[in-house]
Amino acid sequence: MDDKAIYRALGGLRNRITPPGSGDPLRTPACLTYSRARVLALDPAGSTAAESAHAAECRRCGHLLRSFDRQLPHLSIWTLMRRQLDLLRPAEADRVQYHLGSGHCRECTARAERLAGVPLTRLQLPALLVPPHPAMARAAVPEPEVLVRGEHGDLEADLVRDGDELCLEVRTRNPAHRHQLVGYAFASGTGEALVEGYLVLGPDAEEWLAAHELIDPERFRAAAPDGSAALEVAVLPPACLSAEEWRRVRTAAPGPEAAEEVRATWREFCRTQLVVGSLSEDALETVRSIYTSL
């Protein structure tokens, strides 16, 4: 069989199976629209008795609700914090209105309530933050240089440039923050998190509790080429994280190559969460998975 014959046969099949017309053949007049299914996935209690009965029987609508529940993104913890501080930019405020206002998302409403009063350390980064290319950096900046320093409440943060590396240090003297989860995000002018990560505060010199993170300057340079970003740092109540954020915490957990004291700090954080047990089952599963990997 030569190539022409194969193309001819594929062409015949193509013509035969080209879909005609339009429409969803599974939909009946009683079926949910996509927008209604989204609202019900965000707020299942808003469902009418007829909708619940229909969704329980209908394969299409049952699948649609499960699919929305699985795939809809929730608001980031940083957006919820900025909302609390009245720092939302217009585009971000529109997203919040769509998700919480018209969507009535129960999960994010509950997360926002749990976040009330959590202080957010917010540092406006200078434009010179973006590190120069390595060769220039070695020539121009021989010593580590604190680019920006800030504090809010009992939390302090430094961003240090050492040659072509950026290092974030977060510290506190408050013993209540021992083995607590800290989140950081470099947020763009529109509030989008450009680079974000998670750390756990552990014992450091002179009764400080601290955590450090090396930030890949290439990643930062690509995300914020003009350096117009703000650094946000906060001790995060674990129960306020979304499923998507827990997946990122899993990625941020130290690997086998990390220093033993860092791994021990994360082990303590995990142990506390497993003992307290106030997280959702999915979140606890992630914590168990981190713990066993340490």
Binding site: R14, R16, T18, G23, R38, L72, H99
Partner: protein
């Protein structure tokens, strides 16, 4: 086309125009879009070798994912929707394959009426050809399912390049590899 803030404004009833309306305030615009895309997505998943029910579920997942882009306004309404939506569909197909391999033995003809609207006799050649297509590696299979000139689909090499995240010359290479593999497979089935 009008110009708005330096961008071309999509035509109102075009796919991108409906997405712009949907992102604006009209959620009925999305229902129209879903109706328009349902059969094309269904045909795409069937061409990849998924059975009827799996293909239906994957169509719904693709449209839900498209709907969910409104939360973060991730689709640029000055762009074409087809490559964006087929990229979503392709990722969902790959994720479904990771969970469970497709079943190339699913009889195509049994489910064909939903796609064509008319039952037609299936030749042995077509059955063997589909079996060979379904044995292709993922990138080659997706290429054949999408290509309107050398495969079973409706798209150009440039659009496929966007979906597969490749350069157009790499798509040409993919096309050649797919053809070679199909030819070898058909030879193995006794076609000379």
């Amino acid at each position: 086309m009008d110009l708005e803030e330096g961008r071309e404004r999509p035509l109102p009833e075009s796919d991108s125009g409906l997405m712009a309306e949907f992102y604006g305030c009209s959620e009925t615009a999305f229902e129209r879009l879903a109706d328009r895309w349902w059969p094309r997505l269904f045909a795409f998943f069937r061409k990849l070798g998924f059975g009827n029910e799996d293909a239906e579920d994957l169509v719904m997942d693709s449209l839900v994912k498209l709907f969910a882009t409104k939360e973060r306004q991730q689709f640029d309404t000055s762009q074409q929707l087809a490559p964006f939506l087929f990229t979503i569909a392709r990722h969902l197909a790959v994720a479904a394959w990771r969970k469970r391999p497709p079943h190339p033995e699913v009889p195509w003809e049994e489910d064909l009426p939903l796609v064509t609207g008319a039952r037609e006799p299936e030749s042995e050649l077509e059955a063997d050809l589909l079996a060979c297509v379904w044995q292709l590696p993922e990138a080659e299979l997706t290429y054949v399912a999408l290509c309107g000139r050398h495969g079973l689909g409706e798209l150009s090499h440039n659009e496929i390049a966007e979906i597969l995240d490749k350069w157009p010359p790499q798509v040409t290479q993919l096309s050649k590899r797919a053809l070679t593999l199909i030819r070898e497979c058909m030879h193995g089935k006794g076609y000379r």
